[in-house]
């Protein structure tokens, strides 16, 4: 259970990282909090020649308050969000979800950028950030580009990173005062990876209504115009308007064949809706 003997670098800025990770002749891995990469290194599932630690970069440990969103640096941790060291603009959604990720000792090092780049389908950030409508900013040798979180994840453990690119920030929109959200994950044991995730957001002021089926074994299924599916915006009890048959059809059409699996996913979304009734 010891990693292979790799080289280590800790650049002081993003440019320093880009110059190291663009080298195709060897296996280079970016290390942030290391809470997913660490176990994989210990088990020698990953055997890099060089590990580039990005946690020394001040820019990635900062939060930028913009007009209608906040830019959260890639190395901000789950605990930073849980403890409100990062000001919340999501009416409690991100702090609540952060508090349910793995265990406190993991949250103290695990990072938001690392989690979505690792692209484990069962992880929490990918689902809730897709529901909220967050974007990521990537920087590489050819400049900067932005993607919706759900487009950044290509499939299980695969993020849309070009050679030499890294995630620098996760941009979270500021939700309106009437926004409601829900998040439910089905786990057999606290802190383990979820078997199913349901997440949704209704933000009438910004005319946004999104639903997400997460933990699908691939990228989350995002319904970006979910008004009919999850119940009308004006209703207090959203779960009443939930069209579970339609939800079931939706995920079946997207390749979820196992009926039990579908039922757990539909139930997860319903519970997410029920939860918002009391918000």
């Amino acid at each position: 259970m010891k990693p292979v003997n790799f080289d280590y670098a800790r650049p002081k800025d993003v440019a320093g990282v880009i110059s190291l990770i663009g080298d195709e002749s060897r296996v280079v891995k970016i290390l942030a909090g290391g809470q997913s990469l660490g176990p994989m290194l210990n088990m020698r599932l990953v055997q890099p020649d060089l590990v580039v630690d990005i946690t020394g970069i001040e820019e990635l440990r900062q939060v930028e308050d913009r007009a209608d969103e906040v830019g959260i640096g890639g190395c901000v941790t789950h605990s930073d969000i849980e403890d409100l060291r990062v000001a919340d603009v999501t009416r409690g959604a991100l702090p609540k979800v952060a508090a349910g990720i793995a265990y406190r000792a993991v949250r103290n090092r695990g990072t938001i950028g690392g989690s979505i780049t690792h692209a484990d389908p069962s992880a929490d950030w990918i689902s809730i950030l897709s529901a909220i409508g967050a974007t990521v900013t990537l920087r590489g040798p050819d400049g900067v580009r932005s993607l919706a979180v759900e487009d950044y994840m290509l499939g299980a453990l695969e993020a849309d990173l070009r050679l030499g690119e890294l995630l620098v920030s996760v941009n979270v929109p500021k939700l309106g005062p009437a926004a409601r959200w829900g998040y439910y994950k089905s786990c057999r044991k606290t802190g383990e990876f979820a078997h199913a995730i349901g997440a949704f957001l209704i933000d009438p002021d910004r005319d946004v209504c999104r639903a997400v089926f997460g933990a699908t074994e691939s990228k989350p299924l995002v319904v970006s115009e979910a008004g009919d599916l999850i119940g009308r915006t004006g209703e207090r009890d959203l779960a009443q308007g939930f069209d579970s048959r339609r939800a079931d059809e939706l995920i079946r059409d997207n390749g979820m064949n196992d009926p039990i699996d579908r039922q757990i996913h539909v139930a997860a979304l319903r519970r997410a809706l029920e939860q918002s009734g009391t918000v």
């Binding site: 800790r10 290390l31 290391g34 599932l45 090092r109 990072t111 499939g155 802190g191």
Partner: protein
């Protein structure tokens, strides 16, 4: 050289970049109170305080904690909360063998410090990252609860966030940049030296651990596709990452396949036996292989049937993929992830297959066949995924 403040003492020591904090504490500093259980971040036995907050020392590298403040169980002798916890744990019989206790005390101390008035359930959830196999947790939870109640009764309030006031991973951000040390590297052992896997044993009792079903449609007639599947070298050329060693003889081939899934990459060396049933238009590929890097082995059986597609001139290929994975990779494997990867592999395979068949239909020879696409090409991947998204929205809007 790494410098860390351990239990209020400045320590500097040599260690490799791969040395995790727990090994550094135990091996270099002889602080063996920090225990190693699972060594992959699940059991919590190695939990220590880094910059005052609990951290898994088995998945935190010592070099990543340069300049940080680390407190181990040995450093909590004089700590007020830890002292109260020790008393409560003995009173409530909160330990038996003691293996989990150092990590348990560190996590429990954090709960006492941070949470104002947690219920029993809250405490259990907060302690769920620390496994104890002796006590059943009842005594531990009671001990934590009693310490919290006593402290709150004495007017000592919780400290939200445990007093942490900076952003980023615990232990990070204290030290400057580190240049790569450009270590001398032994030349990688060449795959050619790999011992060849033995003939696939014809063990009829072998049953795959996992079986997944899939199918795909090719826009060429069944007899063309069936014929193509008989040409093993060309089929292998369509499979991303696969290559053969020598020609196929009597349906027996040797070769390798490289699979890259996110950070994991494996290269399976192995053998396969192929049988084909002309009348049923069905084939079986029995294979076995070994990945030298991770020392993982796999055994698999792919069955395929070639049928008429829904539209004339199209072929439906039905697949049944059964496999058993053993070794390191098996520890990580979740069947759903394998299914997603298999689905992506098949998508690229079909794309390459179509390209070759189109090339042939246009009169091209196999020598001039188009270059096969690889699995981990980002642009290709996104085109597959974008296709799925478009399909999804088409369906969504089509209904109602």
């Amino acid at each position: 050289m790494v410098q860390i403040t351990i239990n209020d003492r400045q320590v500097s020591g040599e260690c490799e970049p791969r040395t995790h904090l727990a090994d550094f504490l135990r091996e270099a500093e002889n602080l063996t109170g920090t225990h190693l259980g699972c060594e992959h971040g699940v059991c919590g036995a190695c939990t220590v305080l880094v910059d005052g907050v609990p951290t898994r020392s088995c998945i935190t590298f010592a070099h990543a904690c340069e300049g940080a403040r680390v407190t181990t169980i040995e450093g909590l002798d004089e700590d007020e909360i830890a002292a109260e916890l020790r008393t409560a744990l003995s009173k409530e019989h909160g330990l038996q063998c003691g293996y989990c206790t150092p990590g348990m005390v560190v996590s429990a101390r954090d709960i006492v410090l941070r949470m104002e008035a947690p219920s029993e359930h809250d405490i259990r959830v907060a302690l769920s990252g620390n496994l104890c196999r002796c006590t059943g947790y009842v005594g531990i939870v009671r001990a934590v609860q009693s310490v919290i109640e006593a402290r709150r009764a004495r007017g000592i309030a919780a400290v939200p966030g445990g007093g942490r006031d900076r952003l980023g991973p615990a232990g990070s951000g204290h030290a400057g940049a580190v240049q790569e040390n450009k270590r001398e590297r032994a030349a990688p052992a060449e795959a050619a030296a790999a011992t060849r896997a033995a003939q696939v044993s014809r063990d009829d009792n072998w049953r795959p651990q996992t079986t997944l079903e899939d199918s795909f449609t090719v826009s060429h007639p069944p007899e063309v596709v069936w014929d193509f599947f008989g040409r093993v070298e060309e089929v292998a050329a369509c499979l991303p990452g696969a290559s053969l060693q020598g020609a196929a003889e009597d349906g027996h081939v040797e070769g390798q396949i490289k699979v890259k899934v996110g950070p994991i990459s494996a290269e399976f060396q192995g053998v396969a036996d192929i049988t084909r049933d002309e009348t049923a238009k069905a084939g079986t590929i029995d294979g076995a292989g070994k990945d030298k890097r991770s020392n993982s082995a796999t055994r698999g059986r792919i069955r395929y049937v070639v049928r008429e597609g829904d539209r004339p001139g199209e072929t439906l290929v039905e697949l049944s993929i059964g496999y058993t994975l053993s070794g390191v990779l098996a520890q990580f494997s979740r069947s759903g992830l394998v299914q997603d990867v298999a689905g992506r592999l098949i998508a690229v395979f079909v794309q390459n297959l179509e390209a070759r068949l189109n090339h042939e239909a246009g009169g091209g020879t196999k020598e001039t066949a188009p270059e096969s696409a690889a699995l981990d090409a980002g642009s290709l991947m996104s085109s597959v995924v974008i296709g799925q998204i478009k399909q999804f929205f088409a369906r969504l809007l089509g209904r109602r």
